[in-house]
């Protein structure tokens, strides 16, 4: 027996990397199954890499070997571009499979007004990975009226 859901105006997927995409999309499609809601996927651009890369002594310690390599601005920007492209491509695949339409947005954590517009109502839902709680923007969102689901 399933409980009847309250009307949802908008579902927003908060993305910062591609690792939790399948779970996020699964949760989103479950909500969309009996709702006429708008689906927005927002990639929160993490400027921490670029900021860290601006420091001359920052190095990346490789997970596979423990070795280290220089972490430059170029490297940080490249990582950003690659992640956005990967997230957008995979989101499109999930949307095609689920036969839903979606809007893809890229926001920085400073674009608070835009976030307020997207999650202003109680009938808005934010679906985010659990690691999202560590992002500074989360503190802003937590103050909004929207519903929040972690996967």
């Amino acid at each position: 027996m399933t409980s009847k859901r309250a009307d949802v105006r908008r579902i927003m997927l908060a993305l910062s990397d591609a690792s939790s995409l399948p779970d996020l999309w699964r949760a989103a499609t479950e909500h969309l199954a009996d709702q006429e809601a708008e689906l927005v996927t927002v990639f929160f651009n993490d400027d921490r890499w670029r900021r860290a890369a601006s420091l001359p002594f920052t190095r990346e310690i490789l997970r596979i070997s423990g070795g280290s390599t220089e972490f430059t601005r170029t490297r940080a920007e490249k990582l950003d571009r690659e992640i956005i492209a990967a997230v957008q491509r995979r989101s499109q695949q999930f949307a095609t499979e689920a036969k839903v339409r979606f809007v893809f947005e890229i926001l920085s954590e400073q674009e608070i007004i835009k976030i307020h517009e997207l999650l202003s109502s109680e009938s808005d839902i934010l679906i985010a990975p659990i690691s999202f709680q560590g992002r500074p923007i989360y503190n802003e969102i937590a103050r909004l009226k929207c519903q929040i689901r972690f996967v």
Partner: protein
């Protein structure tokens, strides 16, 4: 003249010698149980003794080669004698191939007492079935799940601690750990925000240095943690494996202990069971594998995991059985040695110890293997493989390509199986002699030759025994009983088959054919017994079915296409006799031989040889003629003759020397100018002293001339002259014997050329008197005079030529 006639009459072969009738027999084949007692293989005692000797002597190289023609019932004899010994030897051990757990490409062989191989295979199958249930059940047990979960949690906690402590330490120093797709970045933070370069530059010098040092130190800490993660995971896996082993060991030892008790007297089996136990414990994780494969089409039957514990029984014997006697009718390499089969899987050919198959050598191991040598030699690599197996006393199951080193792919190499087998090769004599001459290893491996006789002496005892043999074969084949007269007729035919009135053929297939066919004709006339006329009908019908070519030849003679005179006289022309052999049937027919003579250098030209239609033996016979002329006539003058001899209208090869007497007579007729009677034919070879010698196919030759004469009308003048030494071989057809009895046809037996020429010309040959001269008017005198004339003419001619040269 009357003396000559008397001498010729004396040379006529007595009627009783033309067809040696069988002694009266009291046996009725098929009715007399006692008579049908075991009589098989009488007359083959030497061969039987040799086979028994070879079969009983268990020593290296004492394998047996049975020599004898096709149809001599060699296989039956060998199997019968092998059975006698097989009972004493008893059943040999069973052989299995089992997995080699340390090197699966080299399957091991396991030996068990007769009958235990199949039992062990079944026991292992049952064990596998139990293990398939027991081991997964052990892993599904709550105790196991709890222990596994505890290990997982312990490990995860250890990993979490690593990161937690790092994060805590970094946070204390206002450093954050950022994750990238490939690693980690340590960055200074202030108010939860990563400091960028402009903010960093604004910090006091000592603060900046402190941040750098913190990041440097934390980086090392991070590196150490990264390096320790694989070790933690490895430790986890080892602990899980140890747990799995512990669980599996407990489950499997319970199951295996019973089996070990059952085979505690077989160390090989116990050792194998220990290996099975060790392998199951080592690979315990596989038995609880429940995850789906990465690629769905790679999923495989779970039974494959347990397949390595199966037993491939390649040789199985009943415990109370006799030693095996295997006859392999198709001794191809795989059928003899064995093979390793493959199965196709995902486009690849795979194999393992379960697909090793034994060949006849292993099936016969501990017993006897009977092979036809012509089949062994006719199949690639088989002879070498057989010899190798006998030399090494083991069977190595591998493909010929592997043996020859043509394959570089990794192949299965099953452990060789020790071999103790007695090989009995069966073949014709020429193959035995060929191998003896050209294969040096042959005599070391096949030290016993058992030579089956083609025929036996036609003694009174042997005839009686032969009648019993007929009775036995009639019973074995469930034929109608044979009347005594029919048995007698069969025995007479066996003498004819042996081409000797004093011997009996031991060719069993042709005997069986005659009995079966006589039985058929008896049934055709709705008789409940085979009578003499049925045997005669069988012989007649067989001839009728096969004599198409013979009738063509007779017809050609009758219509004067082939020129053969059967009346009148002619100088230098004689009727010879030849035989055409069609394999299962042969027949004789007359052939015209002509000779011409003139002055020459003492040579007799064989036209057949000149055009390469004459064989070596025929040419030898013709050359003897020159020697015979030289030895008999005008010894004091050079032989100054040029003679030519030809087989008229012969378009195929001529072989044998049985026409040499006819050729000599044609020469003598030509030299003496005395005509030869054309109503006679002659066959026989002659030596250079004029002595006649026996030839083959005498019966067919006589019958061949008789048939031509009969077609043209017998008048009592027709006859055949044969060597006296061939009289014992006469077993002529009833029709010919009847014709002689009615004085319509005659057969003369001669010992010397003088007797032959007297019969052919009706004139006295002549013997040298005290004056060393042949009597005037005799054939020999005429010949000698002509040869002296030739010598004088030749001398004059030579002198004339010489004078001409001097004058010129």
């Amino acid at each position: 003249m009357s003396g000559t006639s008397d001498r010729i009459r004396a040379l006529a072969v007595p009627l009783s010698e033309l067809h040696k009738a069988c002694q009266p027999l009291s046996i009725e084949a098929g009715r007399d149980e006692e008579a049908a007692a075991r009589t098989a293989y009488f007359g083959q005692q030497r061969a039987i003794d040799a086979i028994r000797f070879g079969i009983q002597l268990d020593s290296e190289g004492y394998n047996v080669f049975v020599l004898g023609p096709l149809g001599s019932h060699r296989h039956g004899l060998v199997e019968k004698l092998a059975q006698e010994r097989a009972q004493d030897k008893g059943a040999p051990d069973d052989w299995c191939y089992i997995n080699n757990f340390s090197d699966p490409e080299r399957p091991r062989v396991l030996r068990l007492p007769a009958g235990r191989g199949g039992e062990f295979r079944d026991n292992m199958q049952a064990l596998i079935a139990e293990i398939r249930l027991a081991i997964p059940a052990a892993f599904e047990n709550d105790d196991y799940s709890n222990q596994l979960k505890a290990l997982e949690e312990e490990t995860q906690e250890e990993l979490d601690d690593l990161w937690r402590s790092l994060h805590e330490q970094a946070a204390k120093e206002n450093i954050t750990v950022l994750q990238t797709p490939t690693g980690y970045v340590l960055a200074p933070v202030r108010d939860d925000k990563v400091i960028d370069d402009s903010e960093f530059e604004k910090l006091p010098e000592e603060k900046r240095e402190a941040i750098k040092k913190s990041i440097q130190r934390l980086s090392k800490e991070l590196q150490l943690r990264i390096e320790s993660i694989p070790k933690i995971r490895k430790r986890y896996r080892e602990r899980v494996r140890a747990l799995d082993r512990e669980v599996a060991a407990h489950a499997v030892s319970v199951l295996l202990n019973d089996l070990k008790k059952k085979y505690d007297h077989l160390p090989g089996v116990l050792s194998y069971l220990d290996e099975v136990q060790k392998d199951i414990i080592e690979n315990a994780q596989q038995f609880r594998q429940t995850e789906a494969p990465v690629l769905p089409f790679l999923s495989h039957d779970s039974s494959a995991i347990f397949a390595s514990y199966e037993v491939n029984l390649i040789v199985s014997n009943e415990p109370d059985a006799a030693a095996p006697i295997i006859y392999e009718p198709n001794p191809s390499y795989p059928n003899l040695v064995g093979k390793v089969e493959h199965r196709a899987e995902m486009g690849a050919l795979l194999t393992d110890f379960r697909l090793v198959r034994s060949g006849a050598l292993l099936q016969a191991n501990g017993g006897f293997l009977i092979l036809d040598i012509h089949r062994v030699l006719g199949r690639p690599f088989v002879w070498e493989a057989l010899k190798q197996a006998l030399f090494t006393k083991q069977v190595r199951i591998e493909s010929p390509a592997e043996t020859l080193g043509f394959v570089t792919t990794t192949m299965l190499k099953p452990e060789p199986v020790p071999l103790d087998v007695k090989i009995i090769l069966i073949g014709e004599r020429w193959l035995y002699y060929l191998l003896s001459a050209y294969d040096r290893e042959f005599s070391n491996l096949f030290k016993v030759a058992a030579d089956l006789d083609d025929d036996i002496e036609r003694s009174t005892d042997n005839v009686t025994a032969y009648a019993r043999l007929i009775a036995e074969r009639v019973q074995q084949r469930d034929l109608l009983p044979f009347a005594a007269a029919a048995v007698e007729r069969v025995i007479e035919q066996r003498a004819r088959h042996a081409e000797d009135g004093e011997r009996l053929s031991m060719h069993m297939r042709s005997l069986d054919d005659l009995l079966i066919q006589a039985n058929y004709w008896a049934k055709q006339r709705r008789s409940d017994m085979v009578a003499v006329e049925d045997v005669a009908e069988a012989i007649r019908q067989r001839k009728y079915r096969q004599n198409r070519l013979q009738n063509k030849v007779v017809d050609a003679i009758k219509r004067d296409t082939l020129l053969i005179d059967t009346s009148g006289e002619c100088v230098g022309q004689v009727n010879g006799l030849s035989v055409i052999d069609l394999g299962e049937y042969r027949f004789g027919h007359p052939a015209r031989i002509t000779a011409t003579t003139r002055v020459g250098k003492g040579d007799v030209v064989d036209i057949e040889r000149e055009v390469k239609l004459g064989g070596a033996i025929h040419s030898k016979g013709v050359m003897i003629l020159s020697a015979a002329l030289s030895a008999r006539y005008a010894p004091d003058v050079p032989l100054s003759l040029h003679g030519t001899i030809v087989f008229e209208q012969s378009y195929g090869g001529v072989e044998g020397d049985s026409a040499s007497i006819g050729e000599l007579c044609a020469l003598l007729s030509s030299l003496s100018n005395v005509p030869i009677r054309q109503n006679l034919a002659v066959t026989g070879s002659v030596n250079q002293l004029g002595r006649m010698q026996a030839i083959g196919g005498v019966n067919e030759k006589v019958e061949g001339f008789y048939q031509v004469c009969r077609e043209r009308g017998l008048d009592g003048s027709h006859a055949v002259i044969i060597p006296h030494d061939n009289v014992k071989h006469l077993m002529l057809a009833d029709e010919v014997v009847e014709a002689v009895r009615n004085e319509q046809f005659n057969i003369y037996a001669a010992r010397h050329i003088d007797e032959v020429i007297e019969i052919l010309t009706g004139q006295e040959a002549g013997k040298r008197g005290k004056d060393r001269q042949f009597p005037p008017g005799t054939i020999n005198r005429l010949v000698e005079d002509k040869l002296i004339q030739y010598a004088i003419k030749r001398q004059r001619f030579s002198e004339g030529t010489s004078n001409d040269k001097q004058a010129s």
